[in-house]
Amino acid sequence: MAALTLYGQEVRSRLLLGTARYPSPACLQEAVEKAHVDIVTVSLRRETIGMQRGEGLSGQGFWRLIKQLGVHVLPNTAGCHSVREAVTTAQMAREILGTDWIKLEVIGDDQTLHPDIFGLVEAAEILVKEGFKVFPYTTTDLGVAERLLRAGCQLLMPWAAPIGSGQGISHRSALRTMRQSFADIPLIIDAGIGRPSHAVDVMEMGFDAVLLNTAVAQAGDPVRMAHAFAQAIEAGRTAYEADPMESFSSAISASPLMGRGKLG
């Protein structure tokens, strides 16, 4: 399987994993290790003063755990609804996490978590000028994709379906068109993948990687599910590189018709 290069950084795994909603920090750690994940996403949230947080670790404790994993960290601007919020969050993330990678989310609609594409482009322009390497969470809109690339983004992260929905591919033809339109740009499917079969599907279509969180973290056995996704993503990529056959509307016998014996 060919290696993937993101902003000049070669990564081995095409599975990017979110770190939220696991049953325990130990479970997250084991999922990352068993799936051989190279990149994990984290968010920035208010540090709770003088007490432990809900998911079992304070911010400082969580960061220690992530550092122990020895993986690349991709901070996000999840929950930001304005350009200003997203830019400030990115600046804070760069300082504390020591990376200029930023998964840029500017949310336009709370129900669907649909990106605010206008804010997304504006924030991307600002952040690229400030030296960030922007991973924009976007839709399959080709015009927006073009604007993001023009702003200086070197990759795109289109959704397959709404975040956390687990629906799989909502608009197959739109994803296929996007892949064909930006053949040389790394495209990472971010959001909407629920099952390994969905991941195989998008990888066979030629997408470069998949970012998951809920599909793994909320599985009955997150560690095994992370492993299943890793296998699916590798299989899908290998199949894409092997150039799958075209489908046909009628049957075509694989066995040769010439030379059959006259037996009846």
């Binding site: 939220a20 968010s43 304070s58 400082q60 804070m92 504390i96 996490l97």
Partner: protein, 65 residues
Amino acid sequence: MTQLKVNGEWHPFSETLGALIKDLALDQASVATALNGQFVPAVKRDDTVLHAGDEVEVLAPMQGG
């Protein structure tokens, strides 16, 4: 009493952002700060004078997707 709003809650006043992080018993290197919506780098905290009613955000890495 003069107070500051820290992460949405009222806290006793500190003269500078650097002093506030110390008063909250937080590790300076483990949190990122913003004052009234503007990012304040760690190296500038000690020089950042606070005023009554200032809104400070103190963020740390957390679980995220």
